[in-house]
Subunit: 444 residues, 2 copies
């Protein structure tokens, strides 16, 4: 993409109402723009990040056997009356009347709707296990939307729903998502720690939140240091195998948010040197709630002996739009964002230091085409702004690599390659730069 034909409205000043780094940087780097309180437009650069996050989530859900569908944003209130949640849910649910005076709502979550789809289609235990998910916009009418996309009102969530014949099967489904979540966050370069959690309005018997540590996190978290060191399950994990060791290894160690924290248990179970007290951002939440919805809504299957059995269910959420903010909280410096390669909006920023110079522009065009041919996503700054402004903008938007091309370097057949994270710069030939970037891309 050539910047002269792109839409990247960066801000020079820091917006005064943005309290945390990710909110400030998302506004300044032209990733998002507020449209109403807690409601954002994803500008082109931000949308590319959002799509990359989505893709990782989708790939890992697929590997774990979850099947994607897409439920609508608006739901009929009648379904929520069946489960009893329509009255329980409170003011965070956006309630709507259509022109025929029928009650609709903007889905804050989808247990009722997916249960309705299930009961209308699945009749036999032979069709189980089943895990259905979607990635769709949700709405929660927060009384004080803040922190940008971290606590917005309209937000993008991945929510999966598992259906099993018995508790043992449901536990396997839960373990699959548990492992998939570890892999998902790991691919984004995040260390997410599962913590026993309160089940809140979803309800149920067992629940874990996945939190990443960050100073600006909304929760206080307490955990065993070893949880920071455990590696994520490997690519190629066999999801049909017994995954309980992956779950047990982690859940055996103390980890809790302030809501669930028990200081005396923490001190009894964890040696002082291993105690971590920090702040965390919730990026995922999984629930096992058994037959809560299937019994209320009549979602039964015929079991092996012919009897109708209400299915055992769980639900599994990832905050897709929130992750864009969380990733910045975990990856930034005073100059701007530092995207992990797996979610970066472009792989490399190509900076033309002198667009007026024919030789420099020709070399930039050549490099641009070579990079594209190699499957490397490139944003070329071909504007006529001064070099300093270009450097600042590239640092601000945080692409992993910058390839800087100017007439002085080209005289000795060199370009400059900058690593955004380390700040390291090297002069090398254009060919060597392309080779290096290609090898980086192939490794990813």
């Amino acid at each position: 993409m050539k910047l002269s034909r792109y839409f990247l409205p960066t801000l020079k000043e820091t917006p005064s109402d943005a309290q945390i780094a990710s909110h400030r940087l998302m506004l300044r780097a032209g990733l998002i723009r507020q449209s109403a309180a807690g409601i954002y437009t994803w500008l082109p650069l931000g949308l590319r990040v959002l799509k990359n996050i989505e893709t990782i989530v989708r790939e890992e859900q697929g590997k774990a056997g979850a099947v994607e569908l897409l439920m609508p944003t608006l739901q009929s209130a009648d379904l929520w009356r069946e489960s009893g949640r329509y009255d329980d849910y409170g003011a965070e649910m956006l309630r709507i009347k259509d022109r025929g005076d029928r009650d609709l709502l903007y889905g804050p979550t989808n247990e009722e709707l997916i249960t309705d789809i299930f009961r209308g289609s699945v009749k036999s235990y032979k069709d189980l296990p089943l895990n259905l998910y979607h990635i769709q916009w949700k709405f929660r009418d927060e009384i004080r939307p803040r922190f940008g996309v971290m606590r917005g009102r309209e937000f993008l969530m991945k929510d999966a729903y598992s259906f099993d014949l018995d508790r043992e099967g449901a536990r396997r489904a839960y373990n699959k998502m548990f492992a998939a979540y570890l892999r998902t966050f790991d691919r984004m370069g995040l260390k997410a720690i599962p913590m026993a959690a309160d089940t809140g309005p979803i309800g149920g018997d067992m629940s874990h939140e996945f939190l990443i540590l960050a100073e600006t996190g909304e929760s206080e978290v307490f955990c065993h240091r070893t949880l920071l060191d455990l590696p994520a399950p490997p690519d190629g994990l066999d999801y049909d195998s017994d995954l309980s060791a992956i779950v047990d290894e982690r859940t055996a160690l103390y980890a809790a948010t302030d809501e669930m924290h028990d200081q005396s248990a923490f001190e009894a179970q964890v040696a002082e040197a291993d105690r971590i007290s920090a702040r965390g951002i919730e990026v995922g939440h999984i629930f096992f709630f058994g037959t809560k919805y299937s019994e209320a809504m009549g979602a039964t299957v015929q079991g092996p002996e012919g009897k109708l059995i209400p299915v055992e269910m769980g639900s599994y959420g990832i905050g897709v739009s929130r992750l864009a903010g969380a990733l910045i909280e975990a990856n930034h410096d005073k100059d701007g964002i530092i995207w992990p390669a797996s979610v970066a909006p472009f792989d490399v920023g190509l900076v033309n230091l002198k667009p007026g110079d024919a030789a420099t522009s020709a070399k930039c065009d050549d490099l641009y085409e070579q990079l594209k041919t190699a499957g490397i996503e490139v944003l070329c700054d071909d504007t006529d702004e001064r070099a300093g402004a270009k450097f600042s903008r590239m640092d601000l938007i945080g692409l992993p690599h910058q390839l800087i091309v100017g007439p002085r370097g080209l005289e000795k057949n060199t370009v400059e390659l900058k690593d955004r994270r380390t700040g390291e710069r090297q002069e090398l030939s254009p060919e060597a730069a392309i080779n290096f970037l290609t090898s980086q891309k192939e490794r990813a």
Copy 2:
């Protein structure tokens, strides 16, 4: 994908309330399921089609220079008060009050919101031309939602918005979208005919609808026969070149929907043998409306002489979810859907005629892996249903090819390959079948 692990709830019976073929077939083939009046869940197979349509739309928008962002579904009513449309829009607009009693609405279109984004970011004519688009769910509170996704309430639309300094620039922007639309629909195997159109609630000076001919179309259309024969612009079209010949060639020929039809002009301009009277389905609509929104909302740029100039705008819509229905109206027979290869949910259906037979299953697994390795999307029917049910289902869901594997064929090292559109079947070796399907995929 193995069918035993997928979610494909097909229906045996034809739903009684579905009046047109696409609605019936989308329900029967397990593509969609109604969640509320005019509001649908896209089941896994339907979602794959929707994503394929989206991808074609996105690619062609990108080639034409439009830049993707993503506006939210809910908008503030205040913006619509600025343009004057909040009161004008009528009962089709879904109006919402949030918990703070502020007026929101579910966007039926986005002229106001994009104009707000533009005026907040773009200040100089040097940043023009600009074309911004998104693919997002919209809501129109139809009084009688019907025909499934063809006239639903919650629907997916691609809407692009162009900004230019003057009318000449705006005309170039209009022509780019005109050409891109011809290419977009052509890639889906659809012959879309541009027709002079009424501008309706969007307003403006010039407008074309793109219609495909189908018996169940909601509009009566009248056009010159030659319009059916003109080829779409080629891949690799230079969008920076003068595209007016592409537009003029088409707009010079008579084409109008009933709303704009003038029978005497039709008869005067078109020889009787060249007159087509048919029914059509609108799949796209483009508008040039000049400064209607930019003046009302103060979207100005500094011109070359330093004066503030309200920008000239157009908007360009494609009914993405509606296209899924339109494609079926144009591609089905008595047995079911016949997907064009470019939008098919899978390229091939692999039918295991005897999953109980170890050799047959091993060969199916082998073919399945080979197809996946070749980049061919395959749905393998590995269920233990009888062969007849499997054949009917494959015909119903309409994948372009069926690869049928059974023990009798394997004894002589053959499988059967069926072309869904022609019905043609051939017996050939498994290797030859893979080669054929690979060559088909490469051609696409």
